[in-house]
Amino acid sequence: MRDRHPKDLKKQYTFGGIAGKAGVYFMLALWALMVLFPFYFMIITSFKSYGSYSAEITPAIVPKTWTVANYSSLFGDSSVPLPRYLLNTAFFAIVTTAIMVVVIVLAAFAFARLSFRGKNIVFVLFLSLMMIPSELVIITNFVTITDLNLRNTYLGLILPSVTSVFYIYLLKESFELVPDEVYKAAKVDGTSDFKFLIRIMVPMSKSTIITVIILKVIECWNSYVWPRLITRDPDHFLVSQGIQEIRENGFGKENVPAMMAAVVIISVPLIVLFLIFRRKIMEGVSRGGTKG
């Protein structure tokens, strides 16, 4: 897969002539515009004052006056505790991802390196769980978490979000790239399995682990369905619910610039993460991630 990274694409098609080329660029630019426009809209609107936005019969493409009032109000007074949502989400994403990494590293190591009876059967069972849609199991999980009295707690949010069979699979594949001889060499030197995992395997598979971490953080940051089901207490809201709350109750339905400022704040962390780890994320996703 490495050699398939989009950046390494060689030019393969040529649509005839300069006119064709211009057509291609036009089409690509058009779609880029479609993608970027919502972002553009949210950014410029977030810098408009409520008054000037309301006064616009026809929305202005560029604000007449720029204001950061919407942002300061988000973090200042505010009927809507956006900072709280952000902190909740960050906490949720970090803890969930951290637990997941521990769980999948251990499991992937067992599958990739240790030998035990029934390994193949267990692995096939794991893989078959990948096909189970989360919609099917969420019902009982909802009941389980309710019965455990974990509604409106971080634990209830985090626990069912931890497991990810696909990442175990991805990491196992990556662990298996570590040559057998390296394991034997470590054995000859008297390295314990656990030390080998921590000191050799994990650093050697750093790239895949980082990819998995980023993908999981994105997933956590955007997760909506599960948090919505089990948290009713705004103190435990994540950003997705926060935005829904803002839309339905906060700011008054009319204060669009304030809403857009919130949207910008929510979107920025992920976009920054993406721009930093662009290659890793795209590579990881092309290896089989699907949204949600």
């Binding site: 001889e181 390296v182 054995k187 030197d189 008297g190 390295t191 650093p203």
Partner: protein, 364 residues
């Protein structure tokens, strides 16, 4: 340290019910004297790497035992045996510098064996000095040539002061020029450290050129061991004769009748005391001398000049291969493009093997 293998057998269980178990090593007896450089030689798949792994402790034998000096280590895990191992692909940790790679084994020492930081560093530098990579210590394996990686791997094996150094196909991943250089290097390191060293190879030239002792094996079974020249001159069987030497030995089908050995219809030599039977006759290329009155008649094909020597390429109906080769010096002239060429034999280059057992029955 002296290594003794006593009746070592390794049978791998089948992967599935359809397959049958594989005997990788069969009742292997061998004594490796202290301080020698020993080559385990054989074609690929003959079980030599398995044997190395058994000495190392990565595999345990199905039966038989492994002794280091007088101590039975058969049941000991590798780390308790005090062996150093260099793997075919070096198995260096790619995320660690050469320095950290060499230090890594010392970090595993526990309890009384634990070393101070200074002691670790001193040993690391010693090992690096022995393999001459002091200037490469901060590099990671990815930024080194194959030969340099090889040296780091050897240093990593030496840093533990092993009683035995094991190398699995140490030269197979190097290009031809480096291979020559590195095998001399291994020879030098072994001589300097005096560590009993066992290396596995399928390249007979490599084994012959640097080792004190070569051990030949075939399909898991011991064939012969000894000083390289001795084994070359006194092959115990057809396999050993064929495996050693380039160009390979010429082999003919033949028979013994009335104490004479025949190749085709021609009686070529007297073999006193040998019973009548079918045989193989092996003659080293340097053992064939062009001789108008020689007993063996072959069809002439071509002459290749190899500097001082030249090689006559010919064919014979009873030969196992399509061509036979004779290497001789330029004094033994033959006429230009003859139809046939006749050969006589040099002493000690002419062997007769039983056709059934392939054991050598005569050396002439």
């Amino acid at each position: 340290m002296k290594v003794t293998l006593d009746g070592v057998t390794k049978i791998f269980p089948p992967h599935s019910k359809k397959e049958s178990p594989v005997t990788a090593v069969s009742n292997f007896n061998l004594e490796i004297p202290d301080g020698k450089l020993v080559a385990l030689l054989g074609p690929s798949g003959c079980g030599k790497s398995t044997l190395l792994n058994i000495i190392c402790g990565l595999e345990s034998p199905t039966s038989g035992s492994v002794l280091f000096d007088q101590n039975d280590v058969t049941k000991l895990p590798p780390e308790k045996r005090g062996v150093g191992m260099v793997f075919q692909n070096y198995a260096l940790y790619p995320h660690m510098s050469a320095r950290k790679n060499i230090l890594f084994p010392l970090g595993n020492l526990k309890g009384k064996a634990k070393l101070t930081k200074e002691e670790k560093n001193r040993r690391m530098l010693d090992a690096a000095r022995i393999v001459q990579i002091e200037n490469l210590l901060e590099r990671k394996p990815g930024n080194m040539s194959g030969g340099q990686q090889q040296r780091v791997a050897i240093a990593r094996a030496l840093v533990k002061y092993p009683g035995i150094l094991l190398l699995d196909e140490p030269l197979s991943n190097l290009d031809a020029r480096l291979r020559l250089e590195t095998r001399e290097e291994i020879r030098r390191i072994q001589k300097n450290t005096g560590i009993t060293t066992v290396f596995v190879t399928h390249d007979q030239e490599e084994a012959m050129s640097i080792s004190d002792i070569i051990v030949l094996m075939k399909k898991g079974v011991f064939q012969q061991s000894g000083k390289p020249q001795n084994v070359y001159d006194n092959p115990a069987n057809l396999f050993v004769a064929k495996f050693l030497g380039t160009p390979a030995i010429n082999v003919f089908k033949g028979k013994i009748e009335n104490a004479k050995v025949f190749i085709g219809d021609e009686p070529v030599a007297d073999v006193p005391g040998c019973e009548n039977r079918d045989v193989y006759v092996g003659i080293r290329p340097e053992g064939l001398i062009p001789d108008k009155n020689g007993p063996l008649t072959c069809s002439f094909k071509s002459i290749d000049v190899l500097g001082r020597d030249y090689m006559i390429v010919a064919s014979h109906g009873a030969a196992e291969t399509s061509v036979i080769r004779a290497i001789t010096d330029s004094e033994n002239k033959i006429e230009d493009n003859p139809e046939t060429v006749r050969f006589s034999f040099k002493k000690n280059k002419f062997f007769v093997f039983d056709a059934k057992t392939e054991e050598r029955i005569y050396l002439g």
